[in-house]
């Protein structure tokens, strides 16, 4: 089918007041700023539309409608209407052309008007509600418009949910296409199921819906790749971060350590904000979400030993534990003092870089300086936390149900850290925390490699693999 011929699919979202119609549209759009929303009824007072477009071509137009408020009254008005009773759309037309009825059933008239002009409708149900007669009246009125309809059960994860009751009631009125879709939960799999169900109902629009699904998947991959890159940049920046301190000046050393910790915390927050932005959260939007954050930040401090313990990471690792968990490691003295030399070798990496590193460190030593860096356990913690957040974001609201797989958690907590991190340790110029200026292509390659590694692990243990 050529592009010019393809007509966009018009999709109306209808339902009783305050069932989450606007939330559903926001979820389908991946936009949090569509419409205004709160828990109050009848928030949407007029029809608003939004386009799902690819390459500037609108594939699907979503219409948000005001809530139905008085379906029982409407049914009674229609029942009192004389004449032909079997032509549903005709009776709806008569309602819409009658001024007094339009004035009385203002909300309903807007919705019915919309229904007559779309290809398909999603009837949104608050599954916590009992199956009241007024909702059945709504279904009856909407059925008069003779448009394909798909029921969407919202709030099914609530303990009050009456999903089974609703499915039964919907089947009784001949509505068998039902989908549980929690509008506040961002779940790519459910979103895909929704469009697949639509495609199965609407043969003519199946290619359009397939195009849209393919586009969404591409977007999702791009988003994940960017998120992984963001985490990789964080790890490289922190692994390569270093500060110089005077030897034998404990106060100054403590200050330098604090300064480095602060810089690392800030850098982590930048990564968290990027991940939240990537997954389209408004800055105020995640307060009550089931993410491991509070107010958009990690609540436990990165350098708190308890945080390490919570994430199952052994403090100290193979670097001397003298400075305490999550503390800086004095690589300079480590490199020269007895015993720890080999440990530093393991931490810093082997080969040419090690020699070079020792050369400069010896120079530091002679100049009476020592070099402070972030230790391995802290890097492990940084990686584990960010990946946990990413897992939660990919399946928003299900973070507690689908956290990182234990294997993934373990791989960052215990296994050998990826080579790129060891290489970064030898390249202070790679870290944005070191006021480095250049754009070393080798850093770019290390970041890309590390991002690929994260992405691969992630796909292996991602929500799709559940």
């Amino acid at each position: 089918m050529s592009r010019q011929e393809r007509k966009p699919l018009r999709l109306a979202v209808v339902g009783h007041t305050n069932t989450g119609k606007t939330s559903l549209i926001r979820t389908l759009l991946h936009r949090r700023d569509f419409g205004e929303i709160d828990n109050r009824g009848g928030t949407t007072r007029q029809v608003a539309s939004a386009a799902l477009a690819v390459d500037g071509e609108t594939l699907i137009t979503l219409y948000d409608s005001p809530g139905l408020e008085d379906a029982p009254g409407l049914i009674e008005w229609l029942e009192a209407l004389p004449g032909e009773r079997h032509d549903g759309p005709d009776r709806i037309h008569r309602l819409l052309t009658e001024d007094r009825a339009r004035a009385r059933f203002d909300h309903e008239a807007r919705v019915l008007d919309l229904m007559l002009n779309v290809d398909v409708a999603l009837y949104v149900i608050d599954a916590r509600e009992p199956v009241l007669e007024k909702y059945q009246d709504e279904l009856a009125v909407l059925a008069l418009c003779a448009r394909p309809m798909l029921a969407v059960l919202n709030f099914v994860v609530s303990p009050d949910s009456r999903e089974a009751e609703w499915r039964d009631a919907l089947a009784r009125v001949g509505l068998h296409t039902v989908l549980a879709f929690d509008a506040v939960v961002r779940d790519p799999a459910t979103e895909r199921r929704l469009f697949e169900k639509l495609a199965s109902q609407l043969d003519a629009f199946a290619p359009t819906l397939q195009t849209w699904l393919a586009h969404r998947e591409g977007e999702e991959e791009q988003r994940l790749a960017a998120a992984c890159q963001s985490v990789a940049e964080l790890l490289i920046d922190v692994a390569a971060a270093e500060r110089l301190a005077e030897l034998g000046a404990p106060a100054q050393r403590a200050r330098v350590m604090d300064e480095l910790k602060k810089a690392v915390r800030k850098r982590e927050q930048v990564c968290v904000a990027t991940l939240l932005d990537l997954y389209r959260f408004g800055r105020e939007d995640y307060a009550d979400e089931d993410l491991p954050l509070s107010d958009g930040r990690w609540s436990e401090d990165l350098f708190d030993p308890d945080t390490l313990k919570y994430h199952g990471i052994r403090a100290g690792g193979h670097i001397g534990a003298g400075a305490g968990a999550g503390a800086m490691v004095d690589v300079a003295t480590g490199g020269l003092s007895l015993g720890t030399g080999t440990l530093v070798g393991a931490a810093v990496g082997a080969g040419v870089g090690l020699v070079r590193g020792f050369g400069t460190r010896l120079g530091d030593r002679l100049r009476g300086r020592e070099r402070l860096m972030i230790d391995d356990p802290t890097l492990r913690l940084l990686a584990a936390r960010q990946l946990e957040l990413l897992a939660g974001l990919r399946l928003r609201g299900h973070a507690s149900q689908a956290p990182l797989k234990p294997a993934e958690r373990k791989s960052w907590a215990e296994n050998k850290l990826p080579d790129e991190i060891h290489v970064a340790r030898r390249h202070p110029g790679w870290s944005a925390l070191n006021m480095a200026h250049g754009s070393d292509p080798a850093r770019g390659r290390a970041v890309a490699q590390l991002a690929r590694l994260i992405n691969r692990n992630f796909l292996k243990s991602g929500p799709d693999g559940r």
């Binding site: 007041t17 936009r31 949090r32 700023d33 709160d38 828990n39 109050r40 009824g41 009848g42 007029q46 029809v47 608003a48 386009a51 799902l52 477009a53 390459d55 500037g56 609108t58 219409y63 408020e69 008085d70 379906a71 029982p72 009254g73 009674e76 037309h93 004035a103 009385r104 203002d106 909300h107 807007r110 008007d113 919309l114 916590r128 009992p130 009241l132 007669e133 007024k134 609530s158 009050d160 586009h215 591409g218 977007e219 791009q222 998120a227 890159q229 963001s230 940049e233 800030k266 930048v270 990027t274 932005d277 990537l278 389209r280 944005a432 006021m435 200026h437 250049g438 754009s439 292509p441």
Partner: protein, 497 residues
């Protein structure tokens, strides 16, 4: 046919992910600088205005990102830094060209150190190095990674100069990222062409300087040019010289050399009369094999760089860009269609003067198995529940059947339900039928809280419904009746003083 009310649209702007838009080098650098800074230090809280401007900047993400960067408060200082870097690059380029002129002149002087010039030796010393460098450049361009910016020595000097000297010259808050972005620019294809143009220009100047020095020397001093060989036969050398002369001769720079003329230039013969011709031959060789190829490549590289740098591709898949896609897509435009229905005048209902008997109780969509619930100190006559249309019709008929109006009609409603017009209309009609005060008793606020919904908003919605139908509202959770609410209900049911 009713008029469709499908109005008001907004585009989520999905097209942005496959952007074909291009940016000029200045815009590209500014945008990249901002990205690098934000990827390292986070988005400042000062980008709301810039984002709003950017949303109007064009249909795709690339243009919007560029516009956003330009509108950020830091843009001015970045621009100033970029101008400084540009000046630095030009100065470094100038320096490299001066060096090239010196090197070319020196090479020419070295090859003419003696009045007796070995023709082949002079040609080799003037042409071998440039030709070798040309081959190396070709190999690097074909084989090396694109991210390795410079495929030449002079390109490296400029690139390194920018990354090493740049930070010392710049004083803006984004200086580090400005330098990094400039390094990134030199890594793009047009950036590589710019560095290539620099490299070719170096050899153009080198060859030109050599030519000028040779012409000057040949003009003011007498040199004897001859050729000699120890290993080769004279015929081979004649063949070699003829081959070298083929291109200059075909370009019309020299006459095609005859074999006897070449043999006459053999060392030990008396060249005398052919001195000028041999000198022109050497100049032509430097011009054709040293200068012209480099000139051609310099112009070609410069053209590619010039046009390439005017339309650079921005990689919007970078996390720093992709994260902004949401903020920079169009905001929703919602068209108000029609007027909200005028609310019927809210008549304040009162306890009737001739009221008699207990108040009536009606249950609305409650789902309480224990209905009617008992409240301490309250008594009423239960009229029934109003969950279905049939029940509502019965209730209306029953409410009309009283000889003297009851003191009040208490509508027992659940805060779990969203107040809607259907409920309001029915309750209004019921109170009209009973000709009495209407009190909405809002129950189950505790269960609403259990659903993580703030009951205050829901109560406000019910209050607004009550106001529209002239009813009084009492919030009273029957499971935990608050004494204050009970007293409020009792007071409402007292006849007006």
């Amino acid at each position: 046919m009713p008029r469709p009310i499908i109005e008001g649209r907004f585009h989520a702007g999905r097209a942005q992910f496959v952007s074909k838009a291009r940016l000029s080098a200045a815009d590209w650098l500014l945008t990249e600088t901002v990205r690098l800074h934000e990827e390292r230090h986070g988005r400042g809280g000062d980008d709301d205005t810039a984002n709003a401007l950017a949303r109007n900047a064009g249909p795709n993400l690339t243009l919007r990102l560029a516009r956003r960067a330009a509108a950020l408060p830091a843009a001015a200082s970045v621009r100033a830094d970029l101008a400084r870097l540009r000046r630095l690059a030009l100065r470094l380029g100038g320096l490299v060209l001066v060096l090239a002129a010196l090197a070319g002149g020196l090479a020419a002087m070295a090859s003419t150190a003696e009045r007796e010039i070995g023709f082949l030796l002079a040609a080799a010393s003037l042409l071998a190095l440039p030709t070798l460098m040309l081959l190396i450049w070709l190999l690097l361009m074909l084989l090396s990674r694109p991210s390795r910016a410079a495929a030449s020595l002079s390109g490296t000097v400029v690139a390194m100069g920018i990354s090493r000297l740049g930070p010392r010259l710049l004083d803006g808050p984004l200086a580090a990222e400005t330098v990094a972005a400039s390094g990134g620019l030199l890594g793009t294809a047009p950036g590589r062409w710019a560095l290539s143009a620099m490299a070719h220009l170096f050899w153009v100047v080198y060859s030109l300087a050599a030519l000028v020095v040779l012409v000057l020397l040949f003009s003011v001093a007498q040199y004897d040019l001859s050729w000699g060989t120890t290993l080769l036969s004279d015929e081979s050398v004649v063949g070699l010289i003829s081959a070298l002369a083929w291109l200059p001769a075909n370009l019309g720079l020299i006459d095609p050399p005859r074999a006897d003329w070449i043999l006459a230039g053999r060392e030990g013969h008396q060249p005398g009369s052919t001195r000028a011709e041999w000198a022109s031959f050497l100049l032509a060789l430097v011009l054709v094999y040293g200068l012209l190829p480099r000139l051609f490549l310099a112009v070609l590289s410069a053209l590619l760089a010039f046009f390439g740098l005017r339309r650079l591709h921005l990689d919007t898949r970078q996390p720093g860009y992709l994260r902004l896609a949401g903020v920079l897509s169009d905001s929703a435009e919602v068209d108000v269609h029609g007027q909200a229905p005028a609310a019927p005048p809210a008549r304040r209902r009162r306890v009737p003067r001739d009221a008699d008997g207990p108040p009536l109780l009606v249950g609305m969509e409650l789902e309480r198995s224990d209905w009617p619930v008992k409240l301490p100190g309250q008594s009423w006559q239960v009229l029934g529940q109003a969950d279905t249309r049939a029940q509502r019709r019965q209730l209306l008929a029953a409410a009309e059947g009283f000889l003297r109006p009851p003191p009040a009609l208490i509508a027992h409603c659940s805060a779990l339900r969203t107040p809607d017009e259907g409920t309001g209309r029915f309750l209004g009609r019921l109170a009209d039928a009973a000709e009495t005060l209407l009190v909405i008793w809002l129950d189950q606020t505790g269960r609403l809280e259990a659903r993580d919904i703030d009951p205050r908003q829901r109560i406000a919605d019910w209050r607004s419904l009550a106001d529209r139908i002239g009813a009084a509202l009492v919030v009273l959770d029957a499971d935990q009746p608050a004494p204050g609410a009970l007293a409020e209900l009792t007071a409402l049911l007292e006849p007006d003083q």
